[in-house]
């Protein structure tokens, strides 16, 4: 019944999906944190830049960004990100696109986390004589981090699902393999079930586990 799987690297394709997710997650965590720092900074120009970046990037479809990295950045402008093999170039471009897109959502998650800390907490901290670094370290950031776990988990799951868009520029991940298999094999239902199950295995445990963590660490107000 599963003969048609012969000759297809199913695990390899899902491994590429996982790699795309992990690299983009790391990248967007860094860039998203920087953006969030800009958006809450006291410097109006940085705040403005952060706001414009987030509002522009969030409103462009990820597909447009990913296709642009290939058609625009690579084929037109010759940006190859230091790779010389086509597959590596496309992979890195996809990570770049996913990072640029996802960091806007990471930024918003972090910012809303900081915003959940009531002003009264800081006022109280100052009233008992804590210095600014102490206020940040003991009062604000612990509360902000705790309330950010849930939203960040959602961003991570959305990122996992979004890696399929990399298929649009020929990165050999799960969705591209699925399209290839559908075209070549007469097992539509079975193939779809296999790929659906693959993604369920990636997203559901992450969702359940991080949801549990988020509930565990949440600040009750």
């Amino acid at each position: 019944m599963f003969d048609f799987l012969q000759g297809y690297d199913l695990l390899g394709a899902f491994w590429v999906t996982v790699q795309l997710t992990v690299y983009s997650a790391i990248g967007s965590l860094i860039w998203g944190t920087l953006l969030a720092a800009m958006r809450v900074s006291p410097v109006p120009l940085m705040r403005g830049f952060g706001t414009v970046y987030v509002n522009v990037v969030r409103n462009i479809p990820l597909t447009v960004i990913i296709v642009f990295t290939s058609l625009g950045l690579f084929q037109t402008l010759g940006v190859s990100l230091g790779a010389d093999k086509f597959t590596t170039i496309n992979f890195r471009l996809a990570v770049l696109g996913l990072t640029a897109y996802t960091s806007a959502f990471v930024c918003e998650a972090l910012r809303s986390g900081i915003n959940t800390v009531p002003l009264g907490q800081v006022e109280a901290a100052r009233a008992i004589g804590l210095s600014f670094p102490q206020v940040l370290r003991i009062i604000v950031l612990p509360q902000a981090f705790r309330s950010v776990v849930g939203p960040l988990a959602n961003v991570l799951i959305a990122l996992t699902k979004n890696t399929t868009v990399a298929a649009a520029i020929g990165v050999a991940e799960a969705a591209l393999l699925m399209r290839e298999m559908i075209e070549n094999e007469a097992q539509l239902i079975l193939i779809s079930v296999i790929f659906a199950a693959g993604f369920l295995c990636l997203t559901l445990p992450t969702g359940l586990f991080l949801g549990w963590v988020a509930k565990k660490v949440a600040v009750k107000r």
Partner: protein, 304 residues
Amino acid sequence: MKSKPTVLYDVPGPRARRRNLLWTLLFLVALAAVVWWVVASLAEKNQLEWAKWAPFFTDARVWETYILPALKNTVIAAALAMVIALPLGAFLGILRLSDHRWVRGAAGTVVEFFRAIPVLILMLFANAAYAEFTDISPDTRPLYAVVTGLVLYNASVLAEVVRAGILALPSGQTDAAKAIGMRKGQTMTYVLLPQAVTAMLPALVSQLVVIVKDTALGGAMLGFSELLASVRPMSANYGANTIACFTVVAVIFVVLNFALTTFASWLEGRLRRGKKSTGAVVGVEAVEELAAPGEHMGPTDGTK
């Protein structure tokens, strides 16, 4: 913009203001360097020539042949997906609130399943399924596939939105309905649903943005002739002006979606301030939360 006190820093004094000025200058220099680098590399590849950008301003045919028909397809697909997904989602959402455990469980499984799977997988499946089991013509098949994929995914997200909308209402509403002798079905149709629909309007509009963005997947992977798909023929026809085409397409998406987002936020603010309603709102932010699989911290979490 005048500085308000925030949790992170005080209203700046003279020294802080000098420091902020320094940061502004540093950031300005860095920003200018990046902009200069982008412009230089664009100019090097001849992407800034007026001839490549002129068609969008001087030639109405670009808009008539490429952009507007493509935009029309994007809007049609998004609108169809929303219109079909909403009743389906409402139905699923109400089933999830059922008193019978197996009904609740079945609806919950469906919702969790479709939320956990990428839309692209659903679209690819729908496309192949239409090709194999129906005789929809290959010209319209991409539209069917895109709308089907979007409906399957968004119905499950909207189910959660509807559920959150109903749960966000004060429990006094149900109690009052019970007290005047309404049945469960009557409570739902006459008391809870009408208020929930109002409460979840911001989330609905905000989900529409997600739908509009996801239609681009059909253009890239299924040959659906929407806005993104119009880039290739357009740039081939007007002298390889890829960057210009992408810029125009991106600007259209940003304007469209930004208008929707702004409208959603305005609606949310209006509903929160409104005196006639219960003040229950499923906010713009809630959509991201509800789109992820797994149990969440509470359906009304995003409504604070």
